[in-house]
């Protein structure tokens, strides 16, 4: 708690003093600017230029629990806080959301269990101005009543919508089946009522702690040059010291070891199965789990889709490369979800047996393509670099150096046996289970 206070105090004292363009001339020398590094103000950056792209992505990623830093979780506060800053009028003028719209660009904010990102896709000539405005706005966040009201309206509507999307609702609840506490337990959706009840003081406190320069990872992709790094805003005055000068440490997850399914009342119906997987540092196994999720759950050709046939059920599965542990998340939704569950479980269990060679090669080719296809646009690439950086292993990002990088070398090295061994290690144990169902209808008055 004392550490929290120190961090916040330092952040608040610096928040009034923002200037732009005062960094050393990083890009003005003759030596090429490294693709990754840390700027003098403590901001980590990832820069991957592609001048053939017609646009660029400017993204800020932060390690921050979706439900806040306090002992009492405030579900979805990270997204609310990031949106409030984007909608609040900063001292320097136009709110970020309006600024990006004026550039013909698109602003998006995404919250994950342990991180939050703000991404603007803009035309190349607006990259420097966007970097300047975004870093100024988030490094010294201004939170206004009006900005909070706008953000609450949008976030509440978003929460209501997501609660109705079966896969989203099931995945959001799965964290609570896997963990007794911590960011992965709390989920990222929240509720409309809860979001509307968040106080401005809590939003401000979260923003001032989470959005500090030392906790930031700036990602530039697409047609963005190194000179844009000169536009990063810095705080005037004495540099931050102590905890305020460091990135947020990873939060420890507390596992839930209940054998019984977690049953929840929800707006939608569905079943979730979750397994703790390898940490990101175990790159070989993490890659194997990525492959496995794709091979099992590819929409048309995956093992599960083939097994389900024409049943009125849909199953999704993915491996999420968190720092520790990674998560293998499966959802089963639709009218026949209950009947489909054992089919899905059998398919997952079958992964402990090596796939036939030909099927394995076909599945790997499909998986490699889908992965590359998901990294086509500047925003896609920024998401990949931001994610792997915030989870602590940027060199493992699949987007690095096109398709010839550490990740894809590991993918090429996969064998049916290695994948089966990874499945044996992580998917043999019974999964955590969550079952969502709408509330039972009230019985009518008896005659």
């Amino acid at each position: 708690m004392s550490e929290t206070r120190r961090v916040m105090k330092a952040a608040v004292s610096a928040a009034f003093l923002v200037s732009a363009g005062s960094l050393p001339a990083l890009a003005q020398g003759t030596a090429p600017v490294p693709a990754s590094g840390t700027l003098p103000g403590g901001v980590a950056y990832e820069l991957r230029s592609d001048p053939a792209q017609p646009a660029a992505a400017v993204a800020l990623w932060y390690r921050a629990p979706s439900s806040g830093f306090g002992a009492e979780p405030v579900p979805a506060i990270s997204r609310l806080a990031a949106a409030t800053v984007a909608a609040s009028s900063p001292i320097t003028g136009t709110p970020l959301g309006a600024l990006v719209a004026g550039y013909g660009g698109r602003l998006s904010i995404e919250a994950f269990a342990d991180s939050v990102s703000v991404t603007a896709v803009v035309p190349p000539e607006r990259v420097a101005a966007t970097v300047r405005a975004m870093t100024a706005d988030y490094f010294a966040p201004v939170v206004t009543d009006q900005g909070l009201k706008l953000a609450q309206d949008d976030a509440a509507e978003s929460a209501e919508f997501e609660a109705l999307v079966p896969q989203d609702a099931v995945e959001d609840a799965l964290g609570a089946a896997l963990f007794a506490g911590g960011p992965l337990h709390d989920g990222t959706i929240g509720t409309a009522a809860g979001l509307r009840a968040v106080r401005i003081g809590d939003v401000r406190a979260f923003a001032e702690r989470a959005f500090r320069p030392a906790n930031a990872i700036l990602v530039l992709t697409g047609d963005a040059g190194a000179s844009a790094l000169d536009a990063v805003a810095s705080r005037a005055g004495a540099p931050a010291a102590g905890p305020a000068a460091a990135a947020e440490p990873p939060v420890v997850q507390r596992r839930r070891n209940e054998p019984e399914p977690l049953r929840r009342t929800a707006e939608t119906r569905g079943i979730g199965l979750g397994w703790a997987g390898p940490p990101i540092a175990d790159e070989a196994d993490a890659t194997a789990m990525d492959f496995l999720a794709d091979a099992l759950f590819a929409p048309r050709t995956g093992v599960v889709a083939q097994a389900l046939g024409d049943r009125r059920a849909a199953a999704t599965g993915r491996f999420v490369t968190f720092r520790d542990p990674g998560l293998f998340l499966v959802t089963v939704t639709g009218e026949d979800a209950e009947a489909a569950r054992p089919i899905v479980e059998r398919a997952v269990a079958s992964a402990t047996h090596p796939m036939p060679a030909a099927a394995f090669e076909a599945a790997r080719a499909a998986y490699v393509y889908r992965l590359l296809q998901s990294m086509e646009t500047p925003a896609d690439l920024a998401s990949v670099f931001g994610w792997y950086a915030v989870e602590g292993d940027p060199a493992y990002a699949p987007a690095e150096a096109g398709g010839d990088n550490r990740y894809f070398r590991l993918a090429r090295a996969l064998t049916p046996q290695a994948v089966a061994r990874a499945a044996e290690r992580y998917l043999r144990a019974p999964p955590a289970v969550v079952i969502l169902a709408p509330p039972a209808p009230h019985a009518g008055p008896s005659a």
Binding site: E110, V368, Y388, G402
Partner: protein, 431 residues
């Protein structure tokens, strides 16, 4: 890895229609005449994938009145054609790529994408299906089912529903028919219909290829394979015809299972090659600025209003949609009418023009981020008899747009309109 937040997926679920796809990019497109069909090549050496789009002169305008959906059914059946027992679409996936199609008024566009090393194999599979498509009961049934799923998906988006209503009112003949057909009409189409349509229109004629991304020997080989799979033959030219907008707007109403009413307003709009096109992009930015929220938060799952510019046909159509769940539709409609009248009556101030030009330039640049979007941009330009790099010319023209240009375009194009209302079933209104 799987990086995906719920917010991102929510937006993707309601993502704007692909109908009015994109254009822009600074570098030049080269033309190759060497293969069976002409190839337009736009390279991006930093891309990891290569894409090849085959444009076949078998679009909506080739459909006659009794064969609504035949263009889509034939295209989907090609994808469902079994190769060694596996449908083409799945065989391509197992070879490490993807294949998909889109039907526009003048073409059907097949788009193949893969890492360069896999592309020749993927293209060879597609070429086999083009050479001998299976119009049997099984493949047609699979095609109808696949189209049915896509149609159902589009039917859940009130903007898509309204847009189709407006297209049907504006475009005459096959061009106004739904791009994927309708389930009832698809069920009536026979294998003979499909065979005849394929035999008549899937010929080299005016077919061409657009190659994008990491181009080179692999895309050259793919283009040659695809073009070579089509038999020689010519197709007569067609002209997309329209029904003029009247002084009194047509009002079309449909009931759907939607959460809120949507109003979609359709205008005739300048085509890609029209001198008014850049000014129309500025008007688009102006409308979005007026009807959209003044401040974006980055997390709204649904927007208040937006514009869909259907410049995939000439003449084009511009549709403005208003989400009645977030704003009062009548007020928004009145504001839109007043905006268009005001813009036509006298030039807007230069400072406002600059602001909207800035937004229009950015929006234009953002329309060609993916490889598929770039292939569309090249092919759409070529289809309309323009330079494949017309997108760059438009980007260069935008800063020169003046208030007088905006006034001229507003007066010529945006005073007459149709209105589509998509209302929830429970409201009791009738269509």
């Amino acid at each position: 890895m799987t990086i995906r937040s719920v917010a991102l997926r929510a937006l993707a679920a309601g993502a704007l229609l692909a109908l009015a796809a994109p254009a822009a990019a600074a570098q030049g497109t080269t033309v190759s005449e060497g293969g069976a069909v002409r190839s337009y090549v736009r390279s991006d050496p930093a891309a990891t994938l290569a894409g090849v789009a085959l444009f076949v002169d078998a679009g909506l305008d080739r459909q006659d009145a009794g064969r609504n959906g035949i263009a889509a059914l034939v295209a989907q059946t090609v994808l469902e054609t079994p190769l060694d027992g596996v449908p083409l679409v799945d065989a391509v996936e197992r070879a490490g790529g993807s294949i998909a199609f889109a039907v526009t008024p003048e073409h059907v566009r097949f788009y193949l994408e893969a890492p360069p090393a896999a592309l020749p194999r993927v293209a060879a599979l597609a070429a086999r299906a083009f050479a001998a498509p299976a119009f049997d009961r099984s493949a047609l049934a699979a095609a109808r089912a696949a189209l049915g799923r896509r149609i159902a998906g589009e039917g859940e988006d009130p903007r898509s529903v309204g847009l189709q209503m407006l297209r049907q009112a504006y475009y005459a003949g096959g061009s106004g028919m739904p791009s994927l057909g309708e389930p009832g009409a698809l069920a009536q189409l026979s294998a003979d219909d499909a065979r005849a349509f394929f035999a008549r229109w899937y010929v080299r004629g005016d077919a061409f290829v657009a190659a994008v991304g990491r181009t080179g020997a692999a895309t050259d080989a793919a283009a040659a394979a695809l073009g070579g799979a089509l038999p020689a033959g010519e197709t007569p030219g067609t002209k997309v015809t329209t029904r003029p907008y009247g002084a009194t707007p047509r009002q079309i109403v449909a009931q759907r299972d939607v959460g809120a009413p949507y109003v979609v307003v359709g205008y005739a709009a300048p085509a890609l090659g029209d001198p008014d096109f850049p000014a129309a992009l500025v008007i688009r930015a102006m409308v979005e600025s007026l009807l959209g929220p003044a401040v974006g938060t980055g997390v709204a799952p649904f927007r208040t209003a937006g514009v869909i510019y259907g410049y995939d046909a000439a003449p084009a159509q511009l549709a403005v949609w208003v989400n009645g769940g977030r704003t009062e539709p009548a007020v928004a409609l009145a504001s839109l009418i007043a905006l268009m009248r005001g813009a036509a009556a006298q030039p807007i101030p230069a400072s406002a023009v600059r602001r909207y030009v800035d937004a229009a330039r950015g929006e234009w640049a953002l329309e060609t981020q993916s490889l598929d979007e770039r292939a569309f941009a090249v092919g759409n330009a070529v289809t309309q008899g323009l330079s494949p790099d017309v997108d760059a010319a438009i980007a260069a023209a935008l800063p020169r747009v003046t208030g007088a240009d905006v006034a001229r375009a507003a007066k010529r194009w945006f005073q007459r309109f149709d209105v589509a209302l998509v209302v929830p079933r429970s409201t009791g209104q009738h269509g």
